[in-house]
């Protein structure tokens, strides 16, 4: 393999990794806030992709323009899912963790089924968009614009999230709620409201990822599966609940995956990622940046 090909594989791994981070951050945020693993995370991504696709078809606008609208719609969806499902699952007196798992898992199956019924299992794909199919050629190293844009959105989202968490009252309330759910009630913070907003925010972030992916990936009721698995290992590797661990872990997963293909057959490319995760479990079971 030539130097150029090597740089290509690593650059692609970097871009993919940033997008993995964006896909995973919503999951991590929700987990960190309330210790609930959202098993419908992949289906949220799928719905965001269909929403983007549908809005593009109806409005004729570019996915980039529609991105804030998709995020807003997903925010509403996330909040609704918390208020309509998760809130009740959390009231279970015993085995609360299991109830939450099965509630979100059931939601995942339901959403997939509904999507297949409404949208058919045909594969969809955006034909034309501003960035679709355009590539930045850096001396023979090709960086597809949709992925470059996705990586930038990812960095911007993490930057925005950092500001939100550190500079706003809402961010402080979020942080306080995740520190101690009981104590925040004493200072007049409505736990339910924070949780609903947290779910909304997590879903809005996956909305951004969905809009980004729509430009260069196919859309299908089962599309969430491929990314959800990556998102789970990213969150576990970065540290459960560590939002910025998700960014670092996304990058690591992307790079390790790419580097694995240099030494192993591509069909085994996820082996490197899981081997690394197991290694991390041995030394730091809470994940690289976990605080448990």
């Amino acid at each position: 393999m030539t130097m150029q090909a090597l740089v290509q594989v690593l650059a692609s791994g970097l871009l993919t990794g940033l997008i993995y981070g964006l896909v995973a951050v919503g999951l991590s945020l929700i987990f960190g806030l309330m210790d609930v693993v959202n098993f419908a995370h992949g289906e949220f991504l799928m719905l965001a992709m269909y929403a983007t696709f549908g809005l593009v078809v109806v409005s004729g606008l570019d996915p980039i323009v529609l991105m804030p609208l998709v995020a807003a719609l997903m925010f509403v969806l996330g909040g609704t899912v918390y208020l309509g499902v998760v809130r009740f699952a959390m009231r279970a007196k015993a085995n609360q963790g299991m109830v939450q798992i099965f509630a979100t898992f059931g939601l995942a199956i339901l959403l997939q089924g509904v999507a297949q019924y409404l949208f058919t299992p045909d594969y969809r794909s955006l034909q034309v968009s501003w960035l679709g199919g355009k590539t930045l050629d850096l001396g023979g190293v090709y960086l597809p614009w949709p992925q470059v844009f996705g990586a930038l959105v990812s960095l911007a989202a993490f930057g925005g999230l950092f500001l939100l968490m550190t500079r706003t009252d809402f961010g402080r309330a979020l942080e306080a709620t995740r520190e101690d759910q009981g104590a925040v009630a004493l200072v007049g913070i409505d736990r339910n409201r924070i949780f609903a907003l947290g779910w909304g925010l997590g879903a809005a972030l996956i909305g951004l990822a969905g809009a980004v992916l729509t430009v260069f990936y196919y859309i299908h009721p089962g599309v969430g599966g491929a990314f959800a698995l990556i998102a789970y290992v990213t969150v576990a590797l970065g540290g459960f609940g560590s939002v910025f661990g998700a960014l670092a872990a996304g990058l690591i997963v992307g790079l390790v995956e790419a580097a694995t293909t240099l030494v192993l057959p591509p069909s085994l490319k996820s082996v490197g990622v899981y081997a690394l995760y197991l290694l991390v479990v041995l030394v730091r079971p809470q994940g690289l940046f976990g605080r448990l």
Partner: protein, 414 residues
């Protein structure tokens, strides 16, 4: 007390009698159909269902078509009995396929199963059928190993990937003779039995016929990204790319090739994903000149009216033309109906014997085949494969000469 018991017993007997009467009045023949109706290849299941509904229309109603079981309503050999389908979902998972096949046979009492698209699923389903002595008509799985297991109840009317791949290499040999330079091929295949079997055959043929294998890439199906894989193909830069992929990966492969600026000089695909309308809807502009192996060619309608009529019947249901997969599904059901007519029975052993004795001339099918017969392994050796090329928005048959309507455009990207 005794009297009451007698009455009850008599009643039970009478009921049992009624029941058995109903079962023997063969007004309905139940056939199991096993496809992925959810998951990544659900669309194949949806399209398959419409292909089978079209076949049932032909069999159960009277049509003036020169096809087996078309004339007269229902199955003549079974007193006009009609076929009813029980459709089950295997989700593309071999283990679910095994469980569903058991259920179809033991609970729904199906007399035969038709399926199952994914070769990995057909492998488990056919093993269950063998155990119960219920014929499995393998409509559209193409792994050569399926017909090499000495199963007595396995029947595949269509070609396998050995036959398909041989046609690809015959075609390339022909181009070489015309002075076209084809030295190397790249193999790109998914990691289940379909991809692996296909690559084994292609690797063997390439070595035997003197084509250098520039890249040999096995990839993980349903991957979030194929960048590194495509990079390997691009670095190798073979004269011909030979992909074996299902629909989603076919789309992602094509998109990624576009993004990485890789334009293969030529592509000859092992159908599957590259037969699907959704691939051409998504990335057809990047696939101009792609050649795919096929069991079916719509061009044949010009010579054989039944092809056009059946396609129109299917189109009305599915809003798309018959393709490599759906044409094979349609034909498999007709082959089964033909055997049922000759067997005059739904008994597993008798139906198996009738299937084994099948001899339908190609002209009485919608396929470009010589005929439908079965060898000892249940493979039809006379299912002549064709190669079709994507030009504009349609496929044109380019190989073999007997079926070709135009010479191939070669290479696709000069």
């Amino acid at each position: 007390m005794l009297r009451r018991r007698e009455i009850l017993a008599a009643g039970a007997l009478a009921l049992a009698g009624l029941r058995s009467q109903r079962a023997t009045a063969a007004d309905e023949v139940v056939v199991g159909v096993l496809y992925a109706l959810s998951g990544a290849s659900a669309q194949n299941g949806v399209d398959a269902r419409r292909a089978f509904e079209t076949a049932l229309d032909v069999i159960n109603e009277s049509h003036d078509l020169d096809l087996p079981a078309a004339k007269g309503a229902g199955l003549e050999g079974l007193g006009g009995a009609k076929i009813r389908l029980v459709i089950a979902d295997h989700q593309g998972d071999p283990q679910k396929g095994r469980a569903e096949a058991e259920r179809l046979i033991t609970q729904d009492k199906v007399i035969a199963i038709v399926g199952a698209y994914q070769s990995s699923v057909s492998a488990t389903v056919s093993a269950v059928c063998e155990r119960y002595g219920v014929p499995f008509v393998c409509a559209d799985s193409s792994s050569p190993s399926l017909s090499r297991r000495n199963l007595k109840y396995f029947f595949r009317p269509a070609a396998n990937d050995e036959m398909f791949s041989a046609a690809m290499f015959d075609f390339m040999d022909g181009l070489r003779k015309q002075g076209k330079m084809i030295d190397s091929v790249s193999l790109f295949y998914e990691d289940t039995i379909y991809g692996i079997d296909s690559s084994n055959v292609q690797r063997k043929l390439a070595n035997e016929r003197g084509y250098k294998i520039a890249a040999d890439v096995k990839y993980k199906s349903n991957s979030p990204s194929l960048t590194a894989e495509v990079q390997a193909l691009k670095s190798a830069g073979a004269d011909v790319l030979l992909p074996t992929c299902y629909t989603n990966d076919a789309i992602l492969l094509t998109k990624t090739m576009g993004e990485l600026g890789y334009k293969p000089k030529a592509i000859i695909a092992q159908a599957a994903g590259f037969s699907e309308k959704s691939v051409y809807d998504a990335v057809g502009d990047k696939l101009q000149g792609l050649i795919s192996r096929a069991s079916f060619s719509l061009d044949l309608a010009a010579k054989r009216p039944s092809v056009g009529i059946v396609n129109a019947m299917y189109r009305k249901r599915a809003d798309r033309d018959l393709n490599d997969n759906t044409s094979r599904q349609f034909t498999a059901m007709l082959v089964l109906a033909d055997a049922l007519n000759r067997a005059g029975s739904t008994d597993g052993a008798k139906l198996r014997a009738a299937l084994a004795a099948t001899d339908i001339p190609g002209t009485r099918t919608i396929m470009p085949w010589k005929k439908v017969i079965f060898d000892a392994g249940g493979q039809n050796p006379d299912a002549t494969p064709v190669l079709i090329q994507y030009v504009g928005t349609t496929f044109v048959t380019v190989f073999p000469e007997s079926a070709a309507v135009a010479p191939a455009i070669w290479p696709m990207n000069a």
